[in-house]
C-alpha cells in the first residue's frame, strides 16, 4: 500500500457524473437539497479523495481502491425484494423493526416509509426528503462536517437514499430498529448511503446497524450518518460490520447531542477488507453524556481504521471512550482518538482508552490518543497499550492444567468481553458474544465466506475442563 495518487481519475469521473445527474436523477430535489449538493460538489472539487499525505489518512491508503473501475447506480435496480429471502440476519432471535438497504437503496416489502402509531417515522431517506422537507431543512447536512472531509462532501453531493428515522418528542420506540446494509452485485460497486436520524426532546431509540456483503466483488461504500439527539433524549446505537475481504467500507457518523442527552455507540468490526470508521460526537448541550465503545477483531490482510473525535463544546459533559482490538496474521489497525475540550467547557470529564493485542509479528497497530484541551477545570485522561496477553494470567491458567491454546482463547475472550458486556440489548449481546468466540476460534472467517448461512446456533464453548478452575 504505497501508491500515492496525485491525479485521481475517479475524482474527475465523479464530478462529471454529478453534472449528468443534476439534470436527471437529482432534478426532482427541493431547492434546499439542491443548494447543499452544489456546495458539497464544490468542496469535493477542492478537497478530492483523501491521500496518505493528509494527517488523518496517514495510515490508511485508499490508492488501490480508488484506481478501480466502479459501477454506480443512481436509480434502484430492483423494486421489490424480500430481504429475508436473500439474507438471514445474524441476530435472528432478536425482535426488531427490520429495514434493509440493498445495494444502497432502501427496500422494505414495497413500503419505503412506515409511520408507527406513536408518530415515529422509519424508512427511506429519498421518500422522507420529499415528504418532510421541514425536518430536512432543520437537520440535514447540519452536523456532518464536509468542510474538512472530501469523502463526506462527496457523499453529500450524491446522497440519494439511506435510512431516515424521526422519533417525536417524548416517544420511546420499544423495539430496536435494525438496518441491514447489503451489497449483492456481480460488478465492482461504489455506493454512498446517507442516513438521518432525528430524536426529539425526551425521545428514545435503539438502533442496530449491520453491514454485510453477499458477493465477493470489490465494493466501495462511503456511508455518512447524522444523528440529532435532542434534549434529554437517549440513543443506543450499534454498528456491526462483517464484510468480505474485497470490500472497502468507510463510515462517517456524526452525533449532535443536546442538553442532558445520552448516547451510547458501539462499533464492532468482525471482518472486513479495508474498514474506516469515523465517529464524531459533538456535546453541544450541558450535562450530555456519550459512551463510545468499539471492538475490532481482524486477521489476514485486513485493515481497520477507527477515528474518533469528541468535541466538548459546553460545560459539564462526560465522554467515555473504550476501544479494543485483537490483530492476527498480517492485519493492521489504526486508532486515532481526539478529544477537544473548548475553553468554555469547564467541568468536563473525558476518558479515553485504547488497548490492543497483537498475535503475530506481522500484525501492526498505529494508535494515537490525542488530547486538545483549553479549559483548566477538567478531568481528562487517556491511555493506550499494545501488548501481549498477561503472562501472569497465562501462567495461572497453565498451572490449572489448561492447555496453552485454550488459555489464550480464554484470555482473548475475556479481553473482548469488556466491550461486549456493555451491550444492553440482551439477544444482541449473546449473539455478538457467540460471534466473537467463533471469531477467536477462527471459525467465523470460514463461515463468513458464506454469510447467507448463519442459522446454526452453537453454545459458546471453550476446550476447558471448568472443574479444574
Amino acid at each position: 500500500m504505497d501508491t500515492i495518487i496525485t491525479d485521481n481519475s475517479l475524482k474527475g469521473k465523479m464530478i462529471t457524473l454529478f453534472g449528468e445527474n443534476l439534470r436527471s436523477n437529482f432534478s426532482s430535489d427541493s431547492e434546499h437539497i439542491r443548494s447543499i449538493r452544489l456546495q458539497a460538489i464544490e468542496r469535493f472539487r477542492e478537497l478530492g479523495f483523501p491521500s496518505p499525505t493528509e494527517e488523518k489518512w496517514r495510515s490508511t491508503n485508499l490508492g488501490k481502491t480508488l484506481m478501480l473501475e466502479y459501477v454506480q447506480h443512481f436509480a434502484p435496480l430492483e423494486k421489490d425484494i424480500d430481504v429475508r429471502k436473500v439474507f438471514q440476519c445474524e441476530v435472528f432471535d432478536l425482535d426488531t423493526i427490520l429495514v434493509a438497504q440493498y445495494n444502497g437503496w432502501l427496500v422494505n416489502k414495497g413500503e419505503t416509509l412506515t409511520s408507527l402509531p406513536n408518530g415515529t417515522v422509519i424508512g427511506s431517506l429519498a421518500d422522507a426528503m420529499r415528504q418532510y422537507p421541514e425536518i430536512f431543512e432543520k437537520h440535514y447536512g447540519k452536523y456532518a462536517d464536509m468542510q474538512h472531509d472530501g469523502l463526506n462532501a462527496l457523499n453529500t453531493a450524491f446522497a440519494q437514499d439511506g435510512l431516515f428515522i424521526y422519533v417525536p418528542e417524548g416517544v420511546t420506540v420499544e423495539k430496536p430498529v435494525q438496518i441491514i446494509n447489503l451489497i449483492d452485485l456481480k460488478e465492482n460497486f461504489f455506493v454512498q448511503p446517507r442516513n438521518l436520524i432525528v430524536l426529539e426532546k425526551g425521545a428514545s431509540l435503539r438502533l442496530v446497524h449491520c453491514d454485510h456483503s453477499l458477493r465477493h466483488k470489490e465494493s466501495l461504500i462511503n456511508n455518512v450518518s447524522e444523528f440529532y439527539v435532542g434534549e434529554g433524549a437517549y440513543l443506543d446505537h450499534y454498528k456491526i460490520q462483517n464484510k468480505d475481504n474485497s470490500s472497502t467500507l468507510i463510515t462517517t457518523t456524526f452525533f449532535h447531542q443536546e442538553r442532558e442527552s445520552r448516547v451510547s455507540t458501539n462499533t464492532i468490526v468482525l471482518h472486513g477488507g479495508v474498514v474506516r470508521n469515523n465517529i464524531s460526537v459533538k456535546l453541544a448541550g450541558e450535562y450530555a453524556e456519550a459512551d463510545i465503545l468499539g471492538l475490532y477483531l481482524v486477521d489476514r490482510e485486513q485493515h481497520v481504521d477507527t477515528h474518533v473525535h469528541v468535541d466538548h463544546a459546553v460545560p459539564h459533559c462526560t465522554s467515555n471512550e473504550m476501544f479494543k482490538g485483537i490483530l492476527d496474521d498480517q492485519a493492521s489497525g489504526v486508532f486515532n482518538g481526539h478529544i477537544l475540550v473548548r475553553r468554555e467547557a469547564q467541568k468536563t470529564l473525558a476518558y479515553q482508552n485504547n488497548r490492543n493485542l497483537l498475535l503475530t509479528d506481522k500484525a501492526r497497530i498505529h494508535t494515537k490518543p490525542h488530547l486538545e484541551i483549553y479549559a483548566d477545570d477538567v478531568k481528562c485522561s487517556h491511555g493506550a497499550t499494545v501488548g501481549q496477553l498477561d503472562p501472569e494470567a497465562m501462567f495461572y491458567l497453565r498451572t490449572r492444567g489448561i492447555g496453552e491454546h485454550a488459555a489464550r482463547m480464554l484470555l482473548m475472550y475475556a479481553f473482548a468481553a469488556e466491550v461486549i458486556g456493555k451491550i444492553s440489548i440482551q439477544a444482541l449481546r449473546e449473539r455478538i458474544d457467540e460471534l466473537v468466540a467463533k471469531r477467536l476460534r477462527g471459525e467465523l472467517t470460514i463461515c463468513d465466506q458464506c454469510v447467507i448461512d448463519c442459522r446454526e446456533k452453537r453454545p459458546v464453548s471453550f476446550d476447558i475442563d471448568l472443574s479444574k478452575i
Partner: protein, 483 residues
Amino acid sequence: MPSNEQDRILENVTSGEYKYGFVTDIETEVAPKGLNEDIIRFISARKEEPEWMLEFRLNAFRQWQQMKEPQWAHLRYPEIDFQDIIYYAAPKTKNTLSSLDEVDPDLLETFNKLGISLDEQKRLTGVAVDAVMDSVSVKTTFQDTLAKQGIIFCSFSEAVRNHPDLVRQYLASVVPVHDNYYAALNSAVFSDGSFCYIPRGVRCPLELSTYFRINTAGTGQFERTLIVADEGSYVSYMEGCTAPQRDENQLHAAVVEIVALKDAEVKYSTVQNWYPGNKDGEGGIYNFVTKRGICKGSNAKISWTQVETGSAVTWKYPSCILLGDNSVGEFYSVAVTNNHQQADTGTKMVHLGRNTRSTIISKGISAGKSNNSYRGLVRIGRKAENSRNFSQCDSLLLGNQCGAHTYPYITTENRSSVVEHEATTSRISEDQLFYCNQRGIDTEKAIGLIVNGYAKEVLNKLPMEFAVEAQKLLSISLEGSVG
C-alpha cells in the same frame, strides 16, 4: 477561599519577569542580513573551513531551498522572513585564546550575570564549559585536563580544523542534511557549537557543559553539537541557553547529534531559558531544534533530560534511535509555558534492535494564555522483539486561558513488545491547596510546592548543578513569589 482571590494569586504566580534580559556591549563582527550562497561562503571563509565543509554547507543550502516550512505543529507565529536575519555574528577577537585572562572582560561579565562564571565553574565545580555567544564558541575550559584522558571537547570549528576525520565520519550521520527544514537550514549556516569525543572505555570525569547566548540584535543562532561516545564510554553533557530581551523575534535553529557505540552511555541535559517574549507576546526567541541520538551498538544508552521554560515558540523533539540490541532510550521533560508562549515538544523513540527499552516522562505546565503540546512517537519495528516502552505525559493547567495538548503516535509491528501510554490533564485541585493552607502554607507557596512536586520526577534526573538552577527557573517562570 473565594475564587476571585485564588485567581488573583494565580495571576501573580503566573506573571513573573525574565531576569536574563540584559545586553552585553561587546564589539561584534556581523555578516550582512540575508541568506544566499555568498553568505554561506562568507561564514565558511571566516571560519577558515576546508573545502569539504563548504561543499557540505552549499549542498544543505540547495536542499533547504527545495523544502517547505513545516506547518503541522500546534504553533501559530507570523511567517519568518529568512532574508531578514543575520546569519553570522561573532565577538571580535584578535587571536585564538589560550587562557581565561585573554577573554574580553565584558564577556566574562555576561557569563557572571548568567551565574555561570567560567572562572567560578572552573575552580569550584570542575565543570568543563564551552560557551557559545551568538555564533562563536568563546572558550572551552578544562581542555587540558580532558585531553589527558583522550577526550576531545572543543568548539565545532576547532574540531573541523583539528579532527576532520572524526567530524566527517559522524557529521549528519544521525540528522541527515535533508532531515527537516530547520536541520537543513542549520547544516547550511551553522556557525559554531561543540564537539565532543569520548574514547573507548573512558568515563568522562567531568560534566561537560555548553552555554548558548544570543546577544546581537537581529541575529539567528545556529549551533551544531556533535557528541560521539566510543565503545564502553560515558559522558554527561549539559546545555543552557539565555538571550537578552528584545522586541523582535529572534531565530534559533540548532542541531544536536549523539552517537553512542556499543556499551556507551550519554546523558544529555538541557535547561532552555531563551527570552520568552513579554507579557503581551511581543518578542522572544523562536526555537526550532532538532536533537537526535543513535544507540549504534548493543547495550548503549542515551538519556535526554530537558527543562524548557523559555522561548516564544518551541519546536523540539529530542529523539533516540535504538538500533543496537538491548539499548536504552530515555526522555524526561518539564515544559513550562506562560503568557503567550507556545511549545510543541516531545520525543521519538524508534525501536529497531531486540530487547530495546525506552521511557518517556513528560510534564507540561501551562499558564497565562500559553499553549503547551506534547508530541511523541513510539515506533517498535518488526525486528525489535521483546521491546518495551512506557510513556507518561501529564499536563497541568494554571488558569483558564491556556491549553494543553497531547499527540502521541504509537506504532507496533511485533507481538512480543509491550507499549504503554498514559496521559492525564488536570489543574491544582482545591483539595491540595486546602491541605497546604490548613498546615499554614499560604496559597502562593503551596502552588510553588505543588508545581515543583509535580515536576520532581524529571528534575531529579538533572545533574546537581543544573537541578538547582532548574528549580529556580521553574519558579521564576511561574512565580513572582513562588519558591
